[in-house]
């Protein structure tokens, strides 16, 4: 039976590019699978729902009711890929709740594959949080994302020792161009006149990395 991926895009740090990764992933999954269901667990930050209101719902894990609304759907092996844009405020409560309710174990039992996309930063908080996740979920694919728009300096060794996804830095004007809410990565790729542009290559490279990631999930497991 087909397994259902649940992508959790997270970082304990704000402003590291989680929503950019979530947008890329959502558009890639729509292009690749035709459909995706996304959840925006952000409190105050501009986030995924602003970019993809038709496929995204807001979710809250502040109370049990909100947790049920979100997690009871994530645990369904319905073949529908899911993406969670997890705001940094919700990072600790989310993983604490997952540990308490036994999400990863139950997911494994039901044919659901959680995939953690951890947007890396060079500070100690990120390194520690990443190590903890790997320890807590040894059988779950936990993939560091190296976002060059944000990172200054070399990634800590913890992240470098693992196969990671790299998001190359764009020219500032292109970065603000893709930051428009009406911008679509897939639409841009489909337009023939864009083929020789830097942005075209950037999107293509990101999609190829996502495709490779999806087909080689096993290699990302510790």
């Amino acid at each position: 039976m087909r397994r259902t991926p649940v992508y959790i895009i997270c970082s304990p740090r704000p402003q590291v590019g989680k929503t950019l990764v979530a947008r890329l992933l959502c558009e890639f999954l729509v292009a690749h699978r035709g459909i995706v269901s996304a959840f925006d667990v952000n409190l105050n930050e501009p986030s995924l729902i602003d970019f993809h209101p038709r496929i995204t719902e807001t979710a809250s894990i502040d109370d049990t009711f909100g947790q049920m609304e979100l997690m009871d759907r994530l645990i369904h092996n319905d073949g529908l890929a899911k993406v969670i844009d997890l705001g940094f405020h919700a990072y600790d409560p989310f993983f604490k709740m997952c540990a308490e309710i036994g999400f990863v174990k139950e997911a494994e039992r039901r044919g659901v594959d959680p995939v953690i996309l951890f947007v890396a930063d060079i500070d100690r908080t990120s390194v520690r949080a990443f190590d903890e996740l790997r320890k807590l979920y040894p059988l779950t694919a936990t993939i560091p994302i190296e976002n060059e728009h944000v990172l200054r300096g070399e990634l800590p060794a913890t992240f470098r020792s693992i196969r990671r996804m790299r998001i190359a830095a764009l020219q500032p004007f292109l970065k603000s161009y893709i930051g428009r809410q009406s911008f679509s990565f897939t639409e841009f790729l489909r337009s023939p006149q864009n083929k020789s542009s830097e942005l075209y290559d950037w999107i293509r490279d990101s999609y190829m990395q996502l495709r490779e990631l999806e087909t080689n999930l096993d290699s990302h497991r510790p």
Binding site: T64, F65, Q67, D72, I75, E100, I101, G102, E106, Y137
Partner: protein, 255 residues
């Protein structure tokens, strides 16, 4: 044949979670394959019976007929463990009755295993209950249960005062029942099934149900914590069963 064991769960105050603790004990033995029966003294309508109808009988412990029903069958019953959920206010009178019928003497002589789970409330009156109960505890395993399931805070207690009461009873052991998520607790109440069945997503007659995965997860995690307390006090050893520890059988947590 194993020596019969009687576990009394009680408190003189109401609403401190006697039945909840009784339910966890029944689930624990059930998971450990220890044959068990229960008596619910909330006559005529018993809460414990609602959750464990197959193994629970409602009795009125103040009547001789029902006392006979419980204690005269200890040696003849197919089950070796009997749990009695004693109604609020009846703990001290029940223990006095047990003394009067010679049950406490039998326990002292080692013919019967006798354990008391005394559920403590947050008020200072609970400490006085300990003093009252202490007189009956020779020969019994005595467990003082701090029940946090409803987020009780034992604010009225001064620890030094508590210790003076606690140490009056030789070999008294403290057990802590942690808090359970309110909505999860409510859903189990609504479902009227044992905690174990709720976790297994089953209804009263073992039919599949559609309980929330989140709520089941909270119950599983909580129950594993409660059972680890029972493992700590070696509850199965106390009643003479050598089966594996039940909390290991629950898949609570991620590790």
């Amino acid at each position: 044949m194993a020596k019969p064991a009687v576990i009394v769960v009680g408190a003189d105050k109401g609403g401190v979670g006697k039945t909840t603790v009784s339910r966890t004990v029944l689930d624990y033995f059930s998971a450990n394959n220890v044959p068990i029966r229960a008596f619910d003294t909330e006559s005529p309508r018993g809460t414990l019976k609602r959750f464990h109808p197959d193994i629970t009988e409602i009795v009125d412990m103040t009547t001789t007929a029902d006392q006979m029903k419980i204690f005269d069958t200890l040696n003849t019953s197919e089950t070796s463990v009997t749990v009695i959920d004693v109604r609020a206010g009846l703990l001290s009178p029940a223990l006095a009755s047990l003394r009067d019928i010679g049950f406490l003497d039998a326990a002292r002589q080692g013919q019967i295993t006798f354990a008391v789970f005394h559920i403590l409330g947050p008020s200072i009156a609970s400490l006085d209950e300990i003093a009252e109960t202490a007189g009956f505890m020779t020969g019994a395993k005595y467990f003082l249960v701090k029940n946090f399931i409803n987020n009780t805070s034992f604010f009225e207690w001064d620890q030094a005062t508590y210790n003076t009461y606690f140490h009056r009873i030789k070999d008294a052991t403290e057990i802590t029942i942690p808090k359970l998520n309110e909505m999860a607790y409510e859903q189990v109440e609504v479902a009227s099934v044992p905690f174990l069945k709720f976790v297994a997503n089953k209804g009263q007659h073992d039919e599949p149900t559609n309980n929330s995965f989140v709520l089941r997860g909270y119950v599983r995690h909580w129950l594993a914590n409660v059972w680890s307390e029972f493992d700590r006090i070696k509850l199965t050893d106390i009643v003479g069963s050598k089966d594996a520890r039940a909390s290991n059988k629950l898949t609570g947590g991620e590790k």
